[in-house]
Symmetry: C2
Subunit: 126 residues, 2 copies
């Protein structure tokens, strides 16, 4: 396990992580990982991230059940960005969409592209 | 044009941008954009980024010719990450690989996956 070869320095201990559907290559979400989150991801086989707002590590799907099973982890040329290629249970986005990138930007602003795959009010019970 | 709907605040004026091959959905690179770089991208139809190290805007392919023609721009649910779906000329990575994510991380460290599509010594003449 070689998380020490990842450059966490440039972003104050974090790297951006792209979660990508391993079957379709659809981009599901972007989040961040610190060294511990990356190591937990590698050791557990499920995606973990670091929340910049809550300042803690979270396991994707921990409350929703929408886990991301790791198929492959990739690192870029300067070792400061990571891809988790995953099998996504349910949907990646807390809004109910399969991908967080459900909006396209054009000259008229944003418009929706994609459909909801779950009801967030049922999945995220308060 | 609605770049003002993108949240540049969280990262001090920047958002991470994922360049993605519009045909295969392969992730090509991760870089950053400020508001001006995003607006230049939208108005020109070619990917522009903001360099954190050089502290300026750059057009991808400006020196190499390896332009990224914009097919679609997507934004995520909390509007702090962007996807440029592009047609990539040549290769995206300065090392000669088509994608910057040419290495897979496993228990033995990183190993290469992918092949070089150009010779960087010929493309990036000093």
């Amino acid at each position: 396990m070689k998380s020490e070869e990842v450059d966490f320095y440039k972003m104050g201990g974090l790297v951006p992580v792209i979660a990508q559907d391993s079957e379709t290559n659809e981009i599901l979400m972007v989040a961040y990982a610190d060294k511990e989150a990356l190591e937990l991801t590698i050791s557990s086989g499920y995606a973990h991230y670091y929340s910049r707002s809550r300042k803690n590590i979270w396991k994707k799907g921990g409350s929703s059940g929408h886990l991301q099973k790791i198929v492959e982890i990739r690192v870029d040329c300067d070792q400061d960005s990571i891809i988790y290629k995953v099998i996504q249970t349910g949907g990646a986005c807390h809004t109910g969409y399969y991908s967080c990138f459900y909006r396209i930007l054009d000259n008229n602003g944003f418009h929706l592209s994609g459909k909801k795959v779950f009801n967030p009010q049922k999945v995220y019970k308060s």
